[in-house]
Symmetry: C2
Subunit: 468 residues, 2 copies
C-alpha cells in the first residue's frame, strides 16, 4: 500500500510512523490515533487516484485540512489520512462577479487577505481562522460570528468540486446563482463531515467590505428584551448588524481572572452583556462627519440612547477606536480558552429558536442546579443566530455523571425544538446524541444515502452516523 501510494504521489508526500503522528492528534481533547499513513496530494487528480486505491483495497480514508474541528471528526486508528494542505491555491478571484475559486487547503485567513485587496470579504469569521482551511470549513459547514448577516458556510458556496468514495471526480464548480438541474449534491456534501466524499475546491461568494464598523457592548439586567433590541437595531440601521454576541456577567469575570491585563467593559458588572457590531455599506453611512464620527456610529448611539432612556438597557459603551473595538472582541474570542480552564468539561453547542434563548438558559441552569448543585458553567452565545455554547463543569469526574447532565440539558433543547449540534458538527463526540435525538426517519434516510454513495464504508468511517 505504502509503495503504491509513493508511486502515485512521490515518497516525500507519503508520511508514516513518527512523521505521521502530528496528524493523529486531536489537540483540543488530547487524544491520539495512529494513522496508517498520511498522504499529501497536490491536485484533484492525485486525490482521486488515492481514493481509487483506497476503494480498491477497502482502506478507510480520513480527509483532513486545518485540523481545528471540535467534534473529533478527524481521527481514526489505522486509517489513511488524506491531508489537503498542498491543495492551497486560490485559483481565481473574480471581483466583478463577487466570487473566488479556492482549493480545500487554503487557510481561511489567507483567503480573507487575498480578497481584501479587492475591497471584498469572504464573510466566514471565527477564532480558528488562522489555521482552519476551506475544505474543513465546507465539510463541517462552519458557522461563527457573522452568520446572522451572511449565513453559514453553505450559504457562501456557489459550487464545489469533490472526489466521491469510488474515486470519481464530480465537477460542480459553478459560479452560478441559480441552478436547478437535479439534486443539490453541493448541499449534501457540505456538512457531511467527509463521510460522503472529499471536497477539493469551491466557488465561494464574496461580499463588499463594509466601509465602516460600529461596535458596542451593552449591559442589561436580563436577556428578555434582547431579541426586540436586535430587531430594533436592525430596523434602525437597515439590517446592518454583523454580530450580536451574548456573554453573562460570570463570563466577563472569568475573562478578567484569566487576563488581568484585560479591560472590563463597564465599571459595574451586569448580568447580561451583549457585543453588537454593525457594518455599514453605503457611502453616506461610512463617511465621517465634521466631528470625525461615522454616521453609522451615530445611528447606533441614537438607538442605544433611546434604549438607555427607556430603561431597556442599563449601560452601553461604543468603541471609539480600532483598539477599543479589538479589546471588546478579545473578550468574546477568549471563549475556548475560558472553557478549557477546568476539567472535566463538556461544551454543548446547541441552537434554539431566536426567541427562546433566554428560556433555554433559565431552564438549563435550573436542570443543572437540581442534578449537580456543585457544577459550574461557562456560557457564551451567538445570540443573533440562536447558537449557545453552554459549557458545563460537573462536580464529579465520573464520565457517566457528565453524560447524565448532558442528556438532561439536551432534553431542554429538544423540548424547545432546538438542535443538539449547531455549528461544531457530530464527528465522534456527538454520536450517542445523534442516535438518541435525531428524527428516526431522517437517520434511516441518512444511512441509506451513506450506503448508496459509499457502499464499502471507507469514507471517514465511524463519524456522523452512529453504529446501528
Amino acid at each position: 500500500m505504502i509503495d503504491r501510494l509513493s508511486a502515485l504521489l512521490g515518497p516525500a508526500h507519503v508520511l508514516t510512523g513518527k512523521d505521521a503522528e502530528a496528524y493523529g492528534w486531536d489537540w483540543g481533547h488530547g487524544y491520539f490515533a495512529q494513522p496508517l499513513a498520511v498522504v499529501r496530494p497536490a491536485s484533484t487528480a492525485e486525490v482521486s487516484a488515492v481514493v481509487r486505491l483506497a476503494d480498491e483495497t477497502g482502506t478507510p480514508v480520513i480527509p483532513l485540512s486545518g485540523r481545528t474541528g471540535l467534534a473529533g471528526g478527524g481521527q481514526g486508528e489505522g486509517a489513511l489520512v488524506i491531508s489537503l494542505e498542498r491543495m492551497n491555491r486560490i485559483r481565481e478571484i473574480r471581483p466583478g462577479a463577487r466570487s473566488a475559486v479556492v482549493e480545500a487547503g487554503v487557510v481561511l485567513a489567507r483567503l480573507h487577505e487575498a480578497v481584501g485587496e479587492h475591497d471584498l470579504i469572504f464573510p466566514l469569521m471565527f477564532g480558528a481562522r488562522g489555521s482552519a482551511m476551506i475544505g474543513g470549513c465546507l465539510a463541517t459547514n462552519a458557522g461563527g460570528s457573522n452568520v446572522l448577516r451572511y449565513g453559514n458556510t453553505r450559504d457562501l458556496v456557489l459550487g464545489i468540486e469533490a472526489v466521491l468514495p469510488n474515486g470519481e471526480v464530480v465537477d460542480l464548480l459553478q459560479d452560478l446563482h441559480k441552478n436547478n438541474s437535479g439534486y443539490d449534491l453541493r448541499h449534501l456534501l457540505i456538512g457531511s463531515e467527509g463521510t460522503l466524499g472529499i471536497i477539493t475546491a469551491a466557488v465561494v461568494r464574496l461580499r463588499p467590505q463594509p466601509g465602516a464598523y460600529a461596535t458596542a457592548m451593552l449591559g442589561m439586567d436580563s436577556l428578555a428584551p434582547a431579541l426586540g433590541l436586535l430587531n430594533r437595531v436592525q430596523q434602525a440601521t437597515g439590517g446592518a448588524v454583523e454580530a450580536f454576541e451574548y456573554m453573562p456577567g460570570s463570563y466577563i469575570a472569568d475573562y478578567l481572572a484569566l487576563h488581568p491585563e484585560g479591560r472590563a467593559p463597564f465599571e459595574q458588572s451586569h448580568p447580561v452583556n451583549i457585543l453588537i457590531e454593525i457594518g455599514a455599506l453605503a457611502p453616506r453611512d461610512c463617511t465621517p462627519g465634521p466631528d470625525g464620527v461615522v454616521p453609522i456610529a451615530g445611528y447606533l448611539e441614537e438607538v442605544l440612547g433611546e434604549m438607555l432612556e427607556a430603561g431597556e438597557i442599563t449601560d452601553a459603551v461604543i468603541a471609539g477606536t480600532g483598539a477599543q473595538r479589538a479589546a471588546l472582541w478579545a473578550i468574546r474570542e477568549a471563549a475556548s480558552e475560558i472553557a478549557a480552564q477546568r476539567h472535566p468539561m463538556s461544551i454543548l453547542d446547541v441552537a434554539v429558536p431566536l426567541d427562546r434563548v433566554g428560556d433555554f438558559l433559565t431552564r438549563a441552569d435550573d436542570v443543572l442546579a437540581s442534578l449537580d448543585p456543585g457544577a459550574g458553567t461557562s456560557v457564551v452565545a451567538h445570540l443573533g443566530d440562536g447558537n449557545v455554547h453552554y459549557t458545563i463543569f460537573p462536580s464529579s469526574k465520573d464520565p457517566m455523571e457528565k453524560d447524565r447532565l448532558v442528556e438532561a440539558i439536551e432534553d431542554v433543547v429538544a423540548d424547545l425544538r432546538g438542535a443538539f449540534s449547531a455549528e461544531h458538527g457530530v464527528g465522534t463526540h456527538k454520536l450517542n446524541t445523534m442516535a438518541r435525538r435525531k428524527d428516526p426517519g431522517a437517520l434511516t434516510a441518512m444511512r441509506a444515502i451513506k450506503a448508496a454513495l459509499d457502499p464499502k464504508g471507507i469514507m471517514n468511517p465511524g463519524k456522523l452516523l452512529p453504529p446501528q
Copy 2:
C-alpha cells in the same frame, strides 16, 4: 385501491374519471395524462397514510400543489395524484423570530398578504404567485425576480416536514439558523421535484418590508457595462438592489404590439433596457424629504445622473408614482405571454456567471442565426443573478430541428460553465438535456440516492432523472 383511499380520506376527497381530469392537464404546454385518481389529504398523517398504501401496492404517486410548473413535472398517465391543496394552513407567524410555519397548500400570494400584516415579507416573488403553492415552490426550488437580494427558495427555508417514499414522516420543522446534525435532508428534498418525497410543511424566513422602493428603467446601447453598473448601484445604496432585469429593444416592441394600451418606457427605443428596483430598509432612506422624494430615490437619481453624464447609459426614467412603478413591472411580467405568442417555441431557462451574460447572448444569437436564419427569439433575463430566459421560435415545425437548435445553444451554455436549467427545473422537458449535459459522476450519485430513498421508484417516476 379507490375503496381503500376513500376509507382513508372520505369519498369526497378521492376524485376519479372526469373529476380528476383537471389535475391531468399541463396548461402551459397543452397536454394531458389521465390520473388513476386524485386524492386531497388534509393533514400530514393523511399524506403519510396514502403514501404507505402506494408503497404497499407499488402505485406511482405524483405530488401536486399549485400546478404552475414549467417543466412538465406534474403529469403521469395512471398515477395517483396527491393534491396538497387542502393542507393550506399558515400554522404560525412568529414576527419576533422573523419566521412562519406554513403548509404545502398555502398559495404564495396568501402568505405574502398574511406576513405583510406584520410589516414583513416572504421575499419569493414571481408572476404565478397568485396560484403557485409553497409545496411546489420548495419542490422546484423556485427562483424569480428577487433572488439577487434574498436568494432562491432554498435560502428562505429553515426547516421542512416531509413524507418519504415509504410513508415515513420526517420532522425537520426547525426554526433554527444553525443546525449541523447530519446530512442536510432539507436541501436534498428542496429542488428534488417530488422524486424523493413530499414536502408537507416548512418553516420559512421572513424579512422586513422595505420602507420605500425606487424603481427605474435604463436605456443603454450595449449590455457590456451592466454588471459594473449593478455593482456601482449596489455600492451607492449599500446593497439595496432587489431586482435587475434585462429586456432587449425587441422585447419592448413585442410587448407594445401585444399591449397597445401599454406605455413605452422611452420615446426612443434602446437595444438594452434594464429594470432596476431598490428597496430601502433604514428609516433615513425611506422618509420623504420636504420635496416629497424619498432619499433612496434621490441616491438612485444621483448615481444614474453620473452614469448618464459619463455616457454609460443613454436614458433613464425613475417611477415617480406607484402606478408608474406598476407600469414598468407590467412590461417585465408579460414575458410568458410574449413567449407563448408563436409556435413552435422552446424556452431555454439558462444561467451563466454574472460577467458572461452578454457573451452568452452574442454567441447564442450567432449560433441561431447560422443554423436557422429564419428563427426568432424572445429574450428576457434576471440579469442580477445571471438567469436568461432565451426563447427560440424555429422557422421549421420539425421537432428534430428544434432540438438541434436547443442543443447548439446549450453547447454555448456549457462552454461558459452555465446551467441548462436555472429555475424551472428538469421535470420531463429537460430529461434529454440532463442525460447529455449533467456531470456523469453527479448523475450516478443522484441515481444512487434515488434508489436508496425510493427503492420501488413510486415517487414522481420519470421526472428529473433520465432513464438509463
